[in-house]
Each structure stands twice: as C-alpha cells, then as structure tokens.
C-alpha cells in the first residue's frame, strides 16, 4: 500500500542488527506493540541480527565490555536480589561458562518480572503480520541456509528494505 493513501495505516520500519539476548528485545517489543496498534511493521534483520530469525534461537548475553549491565541475582530474599555484584573483567573473561551463567540469570530475571521470551515475542509478531526480512548478503557471508530460518520470514536486500522504509512514518536502527 502506498503512503499517498491518507487512510493507509502508519508504518514502522526497523533494522535489527544485534543478536545478543538483551538487544534482541527492542525490535520485537517495538514491532509487536506497533502491530497491536494496527500499524504496518517491517523488520530488516542484518549482520548479527539475522540469527534472530533462525528456527532455533540461541541468544546469549555478555556482561564483558558491557559495564552498564547490572549483575543481580534473580532469586533469594529481596535485599539479596537488589545487590549489584561487582564483576571484574578478569573474572568475566577467564571463567569458563560465565556468559552461559549471565544468560540464564537474565532469562530468569525477565521471566520473574513478567517479560515475554524472545520466542513468544517473535511468535506474536508473526501473528500480527509483521514483515520480517532476512538479509541475503549476511546469509551468504556467514554461510547460513534458508532452511535454518523460520518459514514466515522473507529474504531480501538493502534496496528492498529501503523502498519499504521510504514510505514509513517511523524508522529505527537497533
């Protein structure tokens, strides 16, 4: 639908370029909220954002090089849960499984607080007819195959996304 039609719904065009557990949230949250408001939504998944379209999701989060990330425990008494644990880089870089631990703590925290999982949010985006476009170039560069991605996504390039974004009311790069 062209935006020259005054009755056309609002359109949101997003670029999802990051594939860590934390940064997987903003595009899916914004897309599902916009879809719920009746907007047309398209997300272009490129570079590290592309794996967010895989059938099997394995996002991780790393506190290393991410000093703004609060390290808190999602269990125990409230006072304990509110402690922000100081994590020296030397520890985060050298303890095997540190990222796996941080990832499971973040997932648990989100679950406890009532935040939907990425899988749930992505399913909602599918339900809301959010257009999800995987970047062909990234697929080629990283050696991914179309079969690894959900069937609901499309595959395209920069020109295809830009044409869609040119008619959008809101365009965001995440």
């Amino acid at each position: 639908m062209s935006k020259s039609d005054p009755n056309a719904p609002k359109r949101l065009a997003l670029i999802a370029s990051k594939g860590t557990l934390d940064w997987a949230y903003p595009p899916f949250i914004l897309a599902s909220a916009a879809g719920a408001m009746g907007w047309e939504v398209g997300i272009f998944f490129t570079f590290y954002g592309l794996p967010l379209l895989k059938s099997d999701l394995h996002m991780q989060v790393s506190p290393l090089g991410n000093p703004a990330m609060p390290m808190k425990m999602p269990f125990g008494p409230e006072g304990f849960q509110n402690i922000v644990w100081p994590m020296p880089n030397i520890l985060m870089a050298n303890v095997p499984g540190f990222e796996a631990m941080a990832t499971s703590l973040m997932k648990q925290t989100f679950k406890n607080k009532g935040v939907a999982s990425i899988e749930e949010l992505r399913d909602m985006c599918v339900d809301l007819d959010v257009r999800m476009i995987g970047c062909q170039m990234t697929m080629d560069v990283f050696g991914f195959k179309r079969e690894e991605f959900i069937k609901e996504c499309e595959v395209g390039g920069a020109a295809m996304f830009l044409e869609y974004a040119a008619d959008a009311d809101v365009q965001l790069f995440v």
Binding site: K10, I29, L30, S32, A33, G35, A36, M37, G38, W39, K113, G114, V115, A116, L121, M124, D127, L128
Partner: protein, 79 residues
C-alpha cells in the same frame, strides 16, 4: 458517583510487562464486536500511558482508566 460500566469480556494481564498488555488487548478486541466493552486488568505501571496511546492509535475508546488495589483497570469500547 460514577456510572457502572458493564463489560462484555474481561482480560487479565496481571504480572505481564510491556508490550504484553497492549498485544493481548489488541488480540482480545479483534475477537469482539463493534460497541462491545473489554475490561482489562494490568499490574504494569507502564500500562496507563500505553493504553491511552493504544486507544488513540486504534480509535477504540478508552472509556475509563482507574486504579484499584494496586491494579490498573481499563474499560475499552471497540469501535
């Protein structure tokens, strides 16, 4: 004394955070008929401003928004 609004359907979004109350509300409203009223209950403190925006964007009327026992209650009429 405010009038009592009779709802046709109730949706409990207690314990859910953004964007779930908005997404669930939109899903529930799609199944309803024009003129019917949905009562939505949420605990997310972000829900009141979000539901106001949702109402403006979708044209479904937010008839009443109130707080009761730590919960946010919304009456929404389908356009």
């Amino acid at each position: 004394m405010t009038d009592v609004i009779k709802e046709d359907q109730v949706l409990d979004c207690s314990g859910m955070l953004c964007p779930m109350p908005v997404v669930k509300t939109s899903k529930a409203m799609k199944e309803m008929q024009s003129g019917q009223v949905l009562k939505m209950v949420a605990t997310d403190p972000g829900a009141p401003p979000d539901m106001e925006a949702w109402s403006r964007q979708t044209g479904n009327e937010l008839m009443r928004s109130m707080t009761e026992g730590g919960k946010f209650i919304f009456y929404l009429k389908k356009k």
